[in-house]
Symmetry: C3
């Protein structure tokens, strides 16, 4: 058991794969202010650990991935200019910590995946769910405005028309719809979400770690727009001098499986 950074966000580790569990079942794993901060702290710590290859995010049971932001806490946590400024920043830090984690992150989604819970899922690199999930961002039912920085990755996933259905019509998708719309990268058989997510994490962990980190960062960078600088282009050729690439070319020639050293 790895040291955790928040009581509702325990971390477990199996080889080079870490799993963070959203564990607040009495509130369908809804996030309050302290948990958003905890998510930011957790992901920052996992990102800094170069021995990891993949992170899985999941809910504490088959009923809920997460119901999103905890509305019951809004009365004390939000609603004034001062409290909202804090909430918006901490929510943002929690969300972006998933995107900014250097390792690939897999969302293993079962049951309720709503609002900020769906938001966390859209920040992940991969999303696995079964048909029984309920996935939506129904901000329109609370007159809440979903922030720019968290809308942008959803547009990148599913395009502007599906985001419009989610945010303006308030649509909630089951697993098949979510897969067809591109919200899920993989549709698992009923009840096999955790198993599929682990197998996926295993395949990711088998790939070259430096390539996974570069590609995650490069896809995020391209999503942010603006021309790629000459320095960035040059850095992107850096792999050619790494031990991992040179070893892989040798291994290919010798018909051996390459071994990754992360350098």
């Amino acid at each position: 058991m790895t040291e955790s950074h928040h009581p509702n966000l325990p971390i477990t580790r199996d080889g080079d794969i870490a799993t963070v569990t959203f564990n607040r079942p009495e509130a369908r794993n809804a996030f309050n202010l302290s948990m958003w901060q905890g998510l930011a702290d957790t992901m920052a710590a996992l990102s800094a650990d170069d021995t990891l290859r993949c992170v899985i995010l999941r809910g504490s049971g088959p009923e809920s991935f997460s119901a999103g932001a905890d509305i019951k806490g809004f009365e004390t946590e939000r609603g004034t200019a001062a409290s909202e400024a804090i909430y918006a920043r901490v929510f943002h830090d929690g969300m972006q910590s998933v995107r900014l984690c250097q390792h690939p992150v897999v969302a293993a989604i079962e049951g309720v995946c709503m609002g900020g819970g769906a938001g966390i899922a859209t920040m992940c690199d991969f999303r696995v769910g079964d048909i029984g999930i309920r996935m939506g961002i129904t901000a329109c039912k609370l007159s809440l405005w979903y922030p720019y920085a968290e809308i942008a990755p959803v547009i990148a996933l599913v395009g502007s028309a599906v985001v419009t259905e989610m945010l303006i019509e308030g649509r909630i998708f089951n697993g098949r719809e979510a897969y067809e719309k591109g919200l899920l990268s993989r549709l698992a058989a009923d009840g096999k979400v955790q198993e599929e997510a682990l197998a996926l994490a295993g395949r990711i962990a088998e790939g070259a770690p430096l390539a996974a980190r570069f590609h995650k960062a490069a896809i995020r960078r391209l999503g942010e727009g603006g021309p790629i600088t000459e320095a960035e282009e040059l850095a992107s050729s850096g792999f050619a001098l790494t031990e991992d690439f040179q070893g892989a070319v040798q291994a290919f020639k010798a018909r051996r499986k390459p071994v990754w050293h992360g350098r």
Copy 2:
């Protein structure tokens, strides 16, 4: 009956939902110069009406949504540098007025939806059609160049490859293909397009109006690219102090349905 702004573009109103009908059946509802201007005037007026929640655009009968720009009028309306400068501006104003309308806009598509007619549909926030529609932008058959500002929203909807099929191969999609490609947000049962569009407009109208307006503008803003400024970020937290949000949090707690005041 609401005052209309062009004889071929009558407006009807049912509660907080307005419907604009493209009514020129003898030309399959094709748009001439005066109708593009009329569309701009109509959408500007509807956008300015804060009592509205949703706008539906439809054709005058089940045969045609719109055949697009009226080619028969091109001889007098286009073809010189001077006339083209006017046509391009008015066409652009008409198209963009749909995108810029503060309220969500639903295209209820039956039958022919070609060229500029398909263009109008891609400017809407939602597109409902049945399998019998014919949707395409076959500019390649007339050596006409579809403008940048109108291509961009189609890319946002369906990606560059499908736009390429439409503009360069000249593909015309039926309703199922259009749905699978992402051109339609909803595939209605045969002959049930108007019914489905009304039901959709009803669901949109039930949501919080300030959230619908913010999300429509935010999705458009993100589509335009460029970094979100600090002022824009700050403004996006503005909901927290609105009566509608604070009332909705209270209503959630009391298990009541929220009532929207638009402030």
Copy 3:
């Protein structure tokens, strides 16, 4: 037979359609440094030929479109800072020459379409394949970093989530999956890829050539981001004064088929 620019990249011509064949069957049509340069030279020459309407890229047999970059050559062609700088530039020139070709380009994909071979396909305007193809960019298995300029067009095709599956999980798609994900524009019946690609090229060649060139360039331009300038907007109205447009309006009126002169 048209003059070719590289022994492994013969060009054939049938009317206004040119076909480039990747012809190195002993290496599953894998590209070495000299072939990347040959591809750049070939596409530049075809692009400059205003009598062409469409280019088809294909493999030399039904087994392989292309296996991508030839890993066996990496030991001599890559692996030092100096050699990598050359390789990266030539690879980039070859890839971008397909995107920059003024004529629409169709990839006719059979069999293996991996790595840089899939990369070439994603640079094309259209991709036709049958269910038996194997399409992927498994850079993660070699610790190779796929370059920014070549990732961006794949994101434009299939979105960031599918690119993530390709680059980080190392997924390889068959034809049906590739079609559903948006990697293929058209799924041909088994063994009918070349026939379908030719028919598609024929439809493209029937359309107005100036419109095809403008739309290809415009879609690429919009993908690059940044605001469209006034000069670009103005140029996009240029069609109105062309002989082809004015003739097409006359032909429409007279119910004749238009004839294109490319001016």
